[in-house]
């Protein structure tokens, strides 16, 4: 097992397992130690002391979605930049110009979204 990638994976899997399992374990252990007296009123959703006036799960404004949408496009762009950023130093001006073209392309997308009013929170 001298493959560094595999040893990284195994380490991180162990790490994640511990980080996931310990809080769950704590919750389970203290289940026997803490009180549990469910009452109807206690289990009502909080609404400043009133009965719930409306169902929370209802169709919502699409404007929220626009942000998620622009977000994912920019995330992909950022990651592509991450892919080339480490080697950019010894590539000279030509490579920098190529990256510049890419950034301008994506900046155009931002500009479009801006002009179309997709970046306004309602």
């Amino acid at each position: 097992m001298n493959d560094p990638y595999q040893s990284d994976v195994v380490f991180l899997l162990g790490f994640a397992l511990a980080v996931f399992a310990l809080p769950v374990f704590t919750i389970l252990v203290f289940r026997w130690l803490r009180p549990s007296r469910p009452e109807r009123l206690k289990r009502e959703p909080y609404e400043s002391g009133m009965p719930q006036a409306s169902v929370p799960r209802r169709p919502f404004h699409m404007a929220y979605y626009n942000f998620a949408l622009v977000f994912i496009v920019f995330e992909v762009e950022t990651l592509l930049l991450f892919a080339i950023a480490p080697v950019l130093r010894d590539q000279g001006w030509a490579a920098l110009a190529e990256v510049g073209i890419f950034v301008v392309l994506v900046a155009l997308g931002l500009f479009y979204a801006w002009r179309k009013g997709a970046l306004v929170w309602r």
Binding site: P59, M62, Y65, A68, L69, I72, V73, V76
Partner: protein, 99 residues
């Protein structure tokens, strides 16, 4: 290597099964993502097998992930719009592509 191929074949079949049998649009998209991942797995594996120094497969796996993300963004925008208009995300009920 055989393990990789079998895994991605199984995943691809699962995705295909979903695409062919499910009718909810979001589940359809989930199935398509499963198929995309099966393909990416193969790209990475063959890159490792034949050109470990050239990275072409990995480059295209990254591009594949990017394209899948764009596809999900556009697809979900479509789904939301369809839902607003028809009150359902059942793909069989939406047959008209015009107003």
């Amino acid at each position: 290597m055989t393990a990789v191929l079998v895994l991605s074949a199984v995943l691809f079949a699962i995705g295909l099964f979903g695409v062919l049998t499910r009718r909810n649009a979001i589940t359809l998209l989930v199935s398509v993502e499963v198929m995309m991942n099966a393909a990416n797995l193969n790209l990475v594996a063959f890159s490792r097998l034949y050109q470990p120094e050239l990275m072409t497969g990995q480059v295209f796996a990254i591009l594949g992930i990017g394209v899948a993300a764009c596809e999900a963004a556009v697809g979900l925008a479509l789904i939301l719009t369809i839902y607003r208009r028809y009150g359902s995300t059942d793909v069989d009920r939406v047959r008209l592509l015009r107003e």
